[in-house]
Subunit: 400 residues, 2 copies
């Protein structure tokens, strides 16, 4: 199981059963408790049931509601669950856009295989999201509020009734849309301090992922066990854990984001943009990570304004390398990236009893800001990026 | 979060709200499709809600039903879930028993902490199960059918509405009871072959657990990602994966059971009962594992009948050690143990292209059989073990 039987039906977003809500919810105001709650969803949701015998059933768009789940369902016992984090953007040209949604579709389908859930034709995911936003888009992202976004959460769970330890023979894909506060609004602005994330380097007794494990897949199993370390870091005033791995303490991820550093290479003296590699399957292949690398390789290998040219490198590096570069004054800046946190500078990493201060008050993470502005132009269709190849336009929004 | 606020209410099984089912289900016949389905539960279930603000609410016993779960619930996205596997036994003296239930309660509470879920007074778990079985016991385990059992599945999930990556602020503990086929009935009896499990040693590209991870906790996150390897092993005709770890390929667990081997030590020449240690937190601290060790240390360090005296050893050993012992004729027998598989001999381990045959046709795993008989006497209150300290009696079964 876990893959589609040869005769079973493929996921198909071309025919969708729609049931409209007759009880529309209030759209929360920016900064309201409802928006900050991370639990208030739009009026509708997508659900698609899959069975091993028949494959994917007809997708439904229906009023947002609780799921009815058997107490024996695989997702409640064996973490047969995976998800994606995406956003839908209201553009400055009035249009709704997704950002490289096929990369999310592909990753969700790959995660599904790792969790013994059904894979699917990944291109259908963006079409299902389009069906949802054609209905909820105009109310939840009004055309006169460009620059707004909703967080999207496509999720796939083992939802059948079998308690036996085996691949699920039934699954449910669902998609919800959630108003989400701007992540940068979560950063405390402390007078005399730079605005950026504070990361706490993980201890050797807590490891997020391991070779032969599943760190590269967006499985629920990567998150629940990491919450304790995350909570501990937050209680000490940090925003995220910087996850290290191995006896040499390699830098892998920051919280649920990818981590980048710009430094001068001690050997070559050249300025490098560095992030951990994908090969050992320890880190999540982030869509934002990939986009940052592609943009940097295209545009930042030459001088841009007052920013020096970069070499773009995916390689293993350790917290010791970071500390040494910082002590020798070779670090230019560091930032994390991902859908939830987008591109956010890192101002400090605490590693044991050393505070590695990466951004001082008044300093600016110039590369991060520039890359962020490029991505925003693509996401929100502005600055001449109205028709970028990374955008997927959602058309035919319905007036009611 | 993840632990109870100082003023919050503790889990308390002394007051339970009971709602009786008015629509009793058929009790499946042994060997029926319903019983084999692993998805057919008894008439009632236990649920207890916890909130960070108020702690544990009044437990409920109510008709078995689907759970209504918010699509944003933590358990569906971040695998904030843990469980226990237990059984309730109808004794030969007509009484209902649990086997060392406080060990399960303690482990569930420990697992909860690892998954940032609420811990609880572990002694209450057995009392909640008693409330359920006082209502369902007589119908589902009739007094005139001694030797029958139901599988029990206490489960704790993050059930609140917050999608943010953080410790759940709401959780639900539920307990269901499931008719379960005798695990030994799953073993194929092939003429000319011994009856026992066939294990496939895991490849280095798939590991179950790692140091600094959560292999020692009964989290859903340990199971879903292992289903792919399990399914692959089953497709090749094996019953379970033998999970190895590290460059030296240490033997850790077999499927979801603990693994024991009896061999002659090459150095000392002494006969040893060996299993992997708990210290490095790679394996689950099984209740059956612990009971096997305790019984063996008490009763098997001297000759019993035709079985030689054993030294009982918890230590790291490798698949290479097993293969060498087998080649040199030093292996006596091997078995797995756990609640689901109880005590089951291993007849073969395939490691790469080597088939390590541990039990030949006509041979008997004598130690496994003896330990199993001792445990059965305690579980089912027979052979003078009617009042063993490992038993918890469920009294006051209700007639309707």
């Amino acid at each position: 199981m876990g893959s589609i039987a040869p005769t079973a039906v493929e996921l198909d977003a071309s025919v969708v059963k729609v049931t409209r809500s007759t009880n529309l919810r209030n759209v929360p105001l920016p900064g309201s408790l409802d928006e900050l709650s991370h639990s208030y969803c739009s009026d509708h949701m997508v659900t698609v049931r899959w069975t091993f015998t028949n494959g994917w059933e007809t997708p439904e768009v229906k009023p947002f509601q609780n799921l009815s789940i058997p107490p024996t369902a695989s997702c409640l016992h064996y973490a047969t669950e995976c998800f994606e984090g995406m956003k839908v953007y209201r553009g400055y040209d009035g249009k709704l856009r997704l950002f490289r949604p096929d990369l999310n579709g592909q990753r969700l389908s790959n995660s599904a295989i790792r969790a013994s859930l059904p894979s699917f034709r990944f291109g259908e995911l963006k079409r299902l999201i389009a069906k949802l936003m054609q209905i909820d888009g105009l109310r939840w992202l009004p055309k006169d509020q460009p620059g707004k976004f909703l967080y999207l959460r496509p999720t796939l769970i083992g939802s059948g009734t079998q308690l036996g330890v085996q691949a699920p023979n039934e699954a449910t894909l669902f998609i919800i849309a959630v108003p989400w506060p701007d992540p940068s609004s979560k950063l405390k602005n402390i007078p005399g301090e730079a605005s950026g994330l504070k990361l706490l380097a993980s201890e050797p007794d807590t490891i997020r992922a391991w070779p032969g494990g599943f760190g590269y897949a967006k499985l629920g199993a990567n998150y629940g066990p990491s919450l304790a370390a995350h909570g501990k870091a937050q209680a000490q005033g940090f925003d995220q854990v910087l996850w290290l791995f191995g006896d040499d303490r390699q830098v892998t991820e920051a919280g649920a984001s990818n981590f980048f550093i710009v430094w001068e290479n001690a050997q070559t003296g050249k300025r490098e943009l560095v992030t951990a590699p994908l090969e050992n399957q320890l880190i999540l292949p982030g869509v934002t990570r990939r986009s940052v690398l592609e943009l940097a390789r295209t545009h930042l290998t030459q001088v841009v304004g007052d920013l020096g040219a970069l070499e773009v490198v995916e390689k293993t590096f350790t917290i010791g390398d970071v500390e040494a570069a910082w002590k020798e004054g070779r670090v230019i800046e560091a930032f994390v990236c991902g859908t939830a946190f987008f591109i956010t500078p890192v101002k400090l990493i605490r590693n044991g009893d050393v505070d590695i201060e990466l951004l001082k008050a008044g300093q600016r993470a110039g590369y991060a800001a520039l890359i962020k502005s490029w991505l925003e132009a693509i996401m929100y269709g502005k600055d001449g990026q109205e028709a970028h190849e990374w955008s997927y336009l959602i058309e035919n929004e319905s007036e009611k």
